[in-house]
């Protein structure tokens, strides 16, 4: 029971909910950039949300199913076609042996997630199937897909579960500037008043030098009141750090475990999926929320997801 990779796409890698528990060895968490879309793809085919999905970035692969399978896409609409017929994100369907999944014109978003009922058969590394391509481990051979790869799957004869996707869970084509909520970073007060003002009032643009490790942004330079050499400590998904040049970097799924640059802000976890779907060139507007608000939003979101998962497992 396999899927054959005819063409790999730009960057297609297996990801799950993350490789937690090993950061004290410097092992990054990795995992899906858009955890909401990843979870949804799994739920649509009756998998637990922690199962691996295939994260497809911008340009999709061409995949040939060698066995019957129940599949679903969630997240970005990268123009998926199943044997030439349009396949929209947010729906599960059964594919026949020999069926070919391909991608044409991108409609919106950047990261699409392909889940297969029963899951991909991958050897977990440190309890996770997530690919860490920089470290060369996890996923399929520790790297993004290549032409000729053969992906082992569990064949499934299950019918798609009836998933009532809550409003707002499916990605929408984004407006011109994306609004991202942030909390104070650990060094917020070390930045100048104008830097703190600019971060929350000026537009920042995602540059092409962005990847799964971090998004390099471009906008008003953010300066400290005085230069500081900080002691390295923990950073997380969404940490906004500012190296000496003053241009912020948002740390993403393949981020390092610790860092030593001043951190002006921290993206609220609920807004990370939105950030994960941005394209280089897209504009971001930051706004400030406090810790209790960010945690209440996150707890509410996770509650909705758990409810959905409980209803379909």
């Amino acid at each position: 029971m396999t899927i054959k990779v005819i063409r790999p796409g730009l960057f297609s890698s297996f990801q799950d909910s993350g490789r937690t528990g090993f950061q004290h060895w410097g092992v990054p968490v990795n995992g899906a950039m858009d955890q909401d879309a990843h979870a949804l793809a799994n739920l649509l085919v009756g998998n637990p949300t922690r199962a691996a999905s295939l994260e497809i970035t911008l340009q999709g692969p061409v995949l040939c199913f060698q066995a019957k399978a129940l599949i679903a896409l969630a997240g970005a609409d990268l123009g998926a076609r199943l044997d030439g017929v349009v396949l929209k994100p947010g729906h599960a369907l059964c594919v026949k042996p020999g069926a070919v999944l391909s991608f044409e014109k991108r409609e919106y978003g950047v990261q699409a997630y392909l889940a297969v009922s029963g899951g991909y058969l991958l050897q977990p590394v440190m309890n996770s199937a997530s690919t860490y391509s920089r470290g060369g481990f996890g996923g399929l051979c520790g790297r993004a897909l290549k032409a000729g790869d053969v992906i082992p799957i569990c064949s499934s004869f299950a019918n798609p579960p009836r998933v009532n996707i809550p409003a707002g869970w499916l990605l929408n084509p984004s407006a011109s500037a994306v609004s991202i909520r942030v909390l104070h970073g650990r060094e917020w007060h070390d930045f100048s008043a104008s830097a703190r003002h600019d971060l929350l009032n000026e537009p920042y643009r995602m540059t092409a030098a962005s990847d799964r490790m971090g998004y390099r942004l471009e906008g008003a330079a953010l300066d400290l009141t005085q230069p500081r050499q900080l002691l390295s400590e923990s950073v997380t998904f969404g940490t906004v750090q500012v190296p000496a040049g003053g241009q912020p970097i948002v740390l993403m799924a393949d981020r390092q475990t610790t860092g030593g640059y001043p951190r002006i802000a921290q993206v609220a976890s609920v807004d990370l999926p939105k950030l994960a779907q941005l394209m280089p060139g897209d504009e971001i507007r930051f706004s400030l929320i406090d810790l209790p608000t960010a945690q209440a939003l996150l707890v509410a979101r996770m509650g909705r997801l758990k409810k959905l998962e409980a209803a379909h497992s």
Binding site: Q23, H24, L183, R263, M302
Partner: protein, 254 residues
């Protein structure tokens, strides 16, 4: 195992700690704002104690405990804590759990650690920043090498990348800031120097430290248990080797 390594250093009760938020899913336990060997030891000991509790099935909802130089990052799932402590914010609930754990730390023995010699080639292409370091520190290259090697230094933490150690403190003469613009790729095994500390790049990575040399040793092997060559609390000594020795050890063709 030397006596120094097995020494038990109880944490003085008079020293306090602070809980700071790093976003909505991570709490940082701050033992000090400036580096001290004692604050580093407290971070090492506290995270070891938390890892022990985790191994006993406690601390449900805490996903990662990450010791750094003088702080410990505690990553947690706010949802799990919200369910367990509905009357507290998740941050306050985690702080309460950690406060209790810290109280119990007074008598924690130091985790047994190891001493390891690290061969380093300080020559030619393997040491692209040696001259720059020598100029910045007003020393000759051989004085820099002598200052950097020969003494036992502590592994202060592992972080940034898998198996990537921070080692120090070197003598004050080796004080220089990191590069203003980090390199996009630093070669595997490169030994970086900044702020009287060294790092070793376990794989090809971006990096902002000055490259003083390169080791042929593998710092991280995912299939090994543990996968890391070094961990916080270990001690290392850099031993100079020639380019020829490096190439023989690394299996590089001369």
């Amino acid at each position: 195992m030397s006596d120094v390594n097995c020494e038990t250093r109880p944490v003085p009760a008079s020293l306090r700690w602070q809980f700071e938020a790093c976003g909505d899913s991570c709490l940082v336990v701050v033992f000090a704002t400036l580096f001290s060997a004692q604050a580093n030891w407290r971070a090492v000991a506290f995270s070891a104690a938390l890892h022990d509790l985790q191994a006993c099935g406690e601390l449900c909802g805490i996903t990662d405990v990450v010791p750094a130089l003088v702080t410990v990052g505690v990553h947690y799932c706010p949802y799990t804590f919200a369910l367990q402590y509905p009357h507290l914010t998740p941050f306050d609930a985690v702080a309460q759990v950690l406060e209790n754990a810290l109280m119990g730390l007074q008598n924690a023995p130091r985790t047994p650690t190891k001493q390891l010699e690290i061969p380093v080639c300080y020559e030619g292409e393997y040491a692209p920043d040696l001259l720059h370091i020598a100029n910045a520190c007003a020393m000759t290259p051989s004085e820099v090498i002598a200052a950097h090697s020969g003494q036992w230094v502590d592994v202060l933490m592992v972080g940034f990348a898998p198996g990537h150690p921070y080692i120090g403190m070197h003598q004050p003469a080796l004080k220089l800031a990191r590069r203003a613009v980090p390199r996009t790729v630093v070669k595997q095994g490169s030994v970086g120097l900044a702020n009287c500390q060294s790092v070793i790049y376990p794989s090809d990575l971006p990096g902002g430290w000055h490259i003083i040399g390169r080791t042929p040793l593998s710092l991280f092997t995912p299939a090994n248990d543990p996968p890391c060559l070094l961990t916080g609390g270990d001690q290392v000594r850099f031993v100079p080797i020639s380019a020829r020795e490096f190439e023989a050890l690394a299996g590089v063709r001369p």
